[in-house]
Symmetry: C2
Subunit: 362 residues, 2 copies
């Protein structure tokens, strides 16, 4: 079964294609876009040996001129120095304004490649080929691209939409269990923020999803992309609605920052953050206690360790306050009224947060 | 006399204000824009001692929180390493998404500050306060922002419009003669590409313009901004019409590149390029010989040395071919049909170029 999700953004609209085996059809999928004939594939050291040669050969056979640029795996590649090296490689490869950048990999590769595409020659076409669950349901959709500074993550970037997203679910077979699970945290998030039916489906189908059942995987990923596409269409530049995508992220980001991004995968930190956000929602959003329990139970069944790290509350609070979304001083939370409906709130106090984290730690 | 030129770009529209003494009114001019209360002034070592303190104090008095960031003067500041240092300074200054970047200086400062504004926190508001003639009539208007790579100028950048451009013509009093003249080359260009009346006015009023007569200066700058605004409104991202702004630039850029940006100011190289383009226009565009002579005479009266540098033709040709606008291999020229009307052409041959440059060198 193949799914197409359309992201409606006027002249910046594009499709997300989701199916098992799409990588082999990349040339046919790209041809209607009338991209230039030079392509720079940007990938990382983990993904490159698995898929880069096949993608390059397929594009070369279809008469594209292709260069492959491989960066080290991991968050540290989202830096200005790696970006600078890539710019010089693209300039040496004589890419022109009609050339395009193809991101082949997970969130790090997509964010970095997107930033390069947004800025090289003042912007060239950009194609996303996500190979992780997290990238398929989240980072490859919506146009947020960025690199990190020593002072914080994603502090330099752009809103820059891809021309197409090609999600081949077959690439998830080689994804390590732990990384796959981390993606599931974001999948569960979509249920909580937007779709009670999806949430109930996840409660039913979690074993099949965790076993990477192709049908469930395709359906769930497509639904998550639909939700993100809907949110992004209504608020491309994150001036309002888009904020709801950050459910669980206020605490989650702080946990990642305090542990210096070395202990938790993004999804693992977000899982802990979602439990905190659910509990805060009970107090400030009217979320039923039974629904708090359902959210926590689903995350637990997915295999997440939901206990917050053993760090001081003040450290976490500091990290929350220095997040770029909180830079006007106040703390901002996305809270749930019920499963499937959330809102943004400034009403959460420090002691509220302390309390819910304390409950988790017992 | 005060002039307001509106740049019509939908939700990205803005005004260019031109008048003697506007710097002192900056707070009142910015207030209607509802910018955030933090401002980062980006300036260079030449402009900073003259104007940065006054601007900072005026904004501070109007309750803005202001930081000043000074980069070395000159093209070398349009680098990724200087940008990286600025990003870190802005992060340390805790700018948030509602903060704005104010470019105070010439083209280098405007291009660099615009690139920073376009990418810091995925884009913050941007204000242009140009202090050179070139920046007032050209680089501060139209949203092209960029930094350089070792491989070439402006290879990394964005299209990012300012919220307002405030051109205080009083700042031109302190501009060195040579830099002022270089700006006049672009002024003459606007006459050639778009406005025979402006060209004729320049023929009449050149002495007053060169003497920085306030009335002539204000009128001429406003007309140049109107022309650029009109062109940019019709083609924001340089997919067609905007190319006409590059009259004289194919040869001009090559001269700058071959002499490693150390011999000629941009306008000085463009002046030589315009003579070449005018002569090519006689052959390929039907420009009358008398009009070629008028263009050359006006540039000469403005004080330009119109003899091409003593470099080999092959070097120049190489540089023309590696310009990012020519990266598909062909050479592209903007040619004139008559003064006030130009078009883009692929018809110019290498021997045509050689011939016109040879004529100039005799």
């Amino acid at each position: 079964m193949s799914s197409i999700v359309h992201v409606a953004l006027g002249e910046r609209s594009y499709d997300i294609l989701i199916r098992d085996g799409l990588l082999g059809q990349l040339p046919e999928l790209l041809r209607p876009l009338k991209l230039g004939r030079c392509c720079a594939i940007l990938t990382d050291a983990t993904v490159s040996p698995r898929y880069a040669t096949a993608v390059r050969d397929a594009l070369t056979a279809a008469a594209w001129s292709v260069s492959v640029h491989t960066v080290p795996s991991g968050e540290s590649s989202k830096s200005l120095s790696v970006a600078g090296k890539l710019y010089e490689e693209l300039a040496e490869a004589r890419l022109n304004r009609r050339s395009f950048v193809l991101a082949l990999g997970g969130g790090v590769v997509g964010d970095l490649a997107g930033f390069i595409a947004a800025t090289f020659l003042r912007g060239v076409d950009f194609v996303q080929v996500p190979t992780t669950l997290l990238a398929m349901v989240d980072s490859s959709v919506g146009g947020k691209v960025a690199i990190n500074l020593p002072q914080g993550k994603n502090l330099v970037g752009a809103f820059y939409q891809p021309r197409i997203v090609v999600a081949d679910t077959a690439t998830l077979a080689s994804l390590p269990e732990r990384e796959f699970r981390a993606g599931v945290a974001e999948v569960i998030k979509y249920g909580v923020i937007y779709d009670a039916v999806l949430f109930a489906e996840l409660e039913r189908e979690l074993p099949a999803l965790m076993a990477k059942d192709a049908a469930v995987l395709g359906r769930v990923i497509a639904r998550c992309c639909e939700i993100k596409a809907d949110v992004v269409s209504k608020d491309e530049r994150e001036s309002g609605l888009r904020e709801i995508l950050n459910f669980g992220h206020t605490v989650g980001h702080a946990i990642e920052a305090v542990t210096e991004y070395g202990t938790y995968l993004h999804g693992e930190a977000i899982a802990i953050g979602m439990v905190a956000a659910a509990r805060l929602s009970q107090k400030h959003g009217g979320l039923a206690e039974a629904d708090v329990a359902r959210i926590e139970a689903l995350l637990r069944r997915a295999g997440f360790d939901l206990q917050p790290p053993d760090v001081s509350f003040d450290q976490l609070l500091d990290a929350m306050r220095s997040d770029k979304k909180a830079r006007d001083g106040g703390l901002r939370f996305v809270l749930a009224r019920r499963i499937g409906e959330v809102f943004s709130s400034d009403a959460v106090s420090e002691s509220d947060i302390k309390e819910v984290l304390h409950v988790s730690r017992r």
